[in-house]
């Protein structure tokens, strides 16, 4: 009998200890709320500025008209939107497959190999590449060889900027796939390609898509590389009955860069509207990728 009663007396003062831990929890929760709120203030401030200044000018016209010049009123940036779609599309078509394939190797096939280590550092070094250098590179590679500014040249420059983001985020996402899931698949006799296709990629898909989204967002907003590769055009990419891809091509980012530097009110308003539209486009792609990229377990 004594055996049962003594432990009760010897029990640590569980209650008080919990109080201290609980208090710390409350403090940290307050801190987390504070940090989130403080971080939200500038984020909301940027968005507010963008929406109030850009939204004022938004109308159907801006999507269908060509950019205005000088004192010309009205106008829009339909051609720049088309150009941005084409060039970001080309960039994604290059960077996403190459980046995900490379990430598969880094995460699954040979994570500790020399090749993987070298590629990992190479990708990290690329993240700090000033965007203008991507432009200089694509200029030497594509513009000088084809002899003209063009949409594909712009796409290549943007792909250089997208690639490291896709590689590094995709690698992380694949590494996060629990090992037991893979082991189970291997245990059933799956080949590595099957494990990757059926387990790793679908499970890691949401996180991979986050990386692709970040890359697309960055590419869509980049100006400097496009100035060196796609230049700008005041006309539609579809021009005089033919698709003028091997010609200077307009983009939203360069339009914003051009117009934000002008003293004309009309152009300044359009620059803000174009910034807002750029963000909206990314929003739409983001939501679409969420819908199609739901984890399939």
């Amino acid at each position: 009998m004594t055996d049962l009663t003594t432990p009760v007396a010897a029990l640590p003062s569980l209650q008080r200890k919990l109080e201290g831990r609980a208090l710390r929890s409350v403090l940290l929760t307050t801190l987390a709320w504070l940090a989130a709120l403080v971080a939200s203030v500038p984020l909301i401030s940027v968005l507010y500025m963008l929406i109030t200044r850009g939204g004022a000018r938004l109308s159907l016209e801006v999507f269908t008209e060509l950019p205005p010049t000088g004192f010309e009123m009205g106008g829009g940036f339909g051609n720049a939107m088309a150009g941005t779609f084409v060039m970001v599309g080309i960039a994604a078509a290059i960077a996403v497959p190459v980046g995900i394939l490379a990430a598969v190797f880094l995460a699954e096939l040979g994570p500790e190999s020399k090749l993987a280590n070298a590629a990992r550092f190479a990708a990290k070094m690329l993240t700090g590449l000033p965007s203008i250098l991507a432009g200089v590179f694509a200029y030497a590679l594509v513009v000088m060889t084809t002899g003209t500014y063009s949409a594909p040249a712009g796409g290549v420059a943007l792909a250089v900027l997208m690639l490291p983001i896709v590689v590094l985020t995709a690698e992380e996402s694949m590494k996060m796939v629990p090992k037991i899931m893979k082991d189970a698949a291997y245990g059933m006799g799956c080949t590595r390609a099957q494990v990757i296709w059926k387990i790793v990629l679908p499970t890691g898909l949401p996180a991979i898509l986050t990386g692709v989204m970040l890359a697309v967002a960055r590419a869509a907003g980049e100006t400097a590389p496009l100035l060196f590769t796609a230049l700008f055009s005041n006309y539609w990419i579809y021009h005089d009955g033919s698709l003028a891809v091997m010609n200077p091509t307009a983009s939203l980012a360069v339009l914003i860069y051009n117009f934000s530097g002008m003293p004309f009110d009309n152009q300044l308003e359009l620059a803000w509207a174009a910034s807002l539209v750029l963000v909206m486009i990314v929003l739409v792609i983001n939501i679409l990728s969420r819908v199609f990229g739901k984890p399939k377990y």
């Binding site: 929760t29 971080a39 090749l115 990708a123 590679l141």
Partner: protein, 322 residues
């Protein structure tokens, strides 16, 4: 995989070796993945080669004078990038400090059941959207919103605490602090988004196990979730830092671009990426060599910072295990 499979005696068994087609697909896919890696490497080699080729005459002509000089005078052929190196590191470091703290806090806040899932998803999308805002907009926002907002505080800090080197000068307008603040906002979405993915990828069971052991919500977060997601969070910081080092347009508008070196947060400074972007379009051949040299230095700095970061990461992990 090269070892032959033991073929089961019973042909009806669920246990079957991969068919010839499976085998072919597997090999092709693995070869493709390897090509992907090689392409990434080739791209970096091509970039370094292209930049290096153009930088070589500059390196031969000026040697280390460029690295340690602090005068940039095209007319006299003097090219010094020391202030730009200093400003790049200083601004990126401050930005990473701020964005790292807030970005990771935000990731915890949005993934660890502080908000209803739907609301967290909306919030998260908004944060990701901010990554798409063009640099120019951030630059304008910095000039018209951030600088006026911090001006009174900086004036007070300078007059009351001016003896501290960090507050040593008055803020004229553009300067290191506004640049670093805006930079922090710019890299926050990247850090928050990638950290969130890392945190959500930690298996539910891990957290439940922690709760099962009687931890509080926060003990589970700080002692179990964050360490489990550490590599992912670290990866987010790497991406954020990379963007901070390479950002140009917004910094060019906010940093003041003065070739001075000062500890003061309010003094104008310069960064390598801004130097490059601002001078390249009009540069003559002599200047291009040095700008390409500066680009190599920036790439090297990015690499160095990454190596250092990885070492810290390894060290921390080892410490955790002991």
């Amino acid at each position: 995989m090269n070892t032959p499979f033991a073929i089961p005696d019973n042909p009806d068994s669920a246990c079957q070796p991969p068919s010839a087609k499976d085998f072919l697909v597997d090999r092709t896919f693995r070869a493709l993945a390897r090509i992907g890696v090689v392409l990434v490497l080739a791209l970096v080699f091509a970039l370094v080669y292209e930049v290096g080729r153009k930088a070589l005459p500059g390196i031969e002509k000026h040697g280390f004078d460029v690295l340690f000089g602090s005068v940039w005078d095209v007319n006299q052929g003097k090219y010094g990038i020391l202030p730009a190196i200093w400003g790049t590191l200083y601004s990126a470091f401050i930005a990473l400090l701020i964005a790292g703290f807030f970005g990771v806090s935000m990731a915890i806040f949005l993934t660890q059941d502080f908000l209803p899932a739907k609301l967290a998803a909306v919030f998260r999308t908004i944060v990701e959207l901010l990554a798409a805002i063009p640099s120019v907009v951030y630059g304008l926002w910095g000039i018209y919103v951030v600088i006026p907002a911090i001006r009174p505080l900086t004036a007070w800090l300078n007059s009351e605490l001016g003896w501290i080197p960090f507050f040593g000068t008055s803020l004229s307008g553009p300067g290191l602090l506004p640049a670093a603040l805006v930079l922090a906002i710019m890299i926050l979405p990247t850090i928050a988004a990638v950290s969130q993915d890392a945190l959500t990828s930690v298996p539910m069971k891990t957290k439940q196990a922690a709760y099962g052991m009687g931890t509080t919500h926060w003990e589970a977060i700080l002692k179990v979730m964050v360490p489990s997601a550490a590599t992912g969070i670290f990866g987010s910081l790497v991406l954020g830092l990379g963007r901070a080092l390479g950002e140009t347009m917004a910094l060019a508008m906010l940093v003041g671009n003065a070739n001075t070196m000062s500890l003061s947060l309010f003094a104008p400074a310069n960064t390598l990426a801004a130097l490059l972007a601002l001078n390249f379009p009009e540069a003559g051949p002599n200047e291009v060599e040095v700008l390409m040299y500066a680009a190599l230095v920036l790439m090297f700095i990015t690499l160095l910072v990454n190596v250092l970061g990885s070492m810290i990461m390894l060290y921390a992990q080892r410490g955790n295990k002991q």
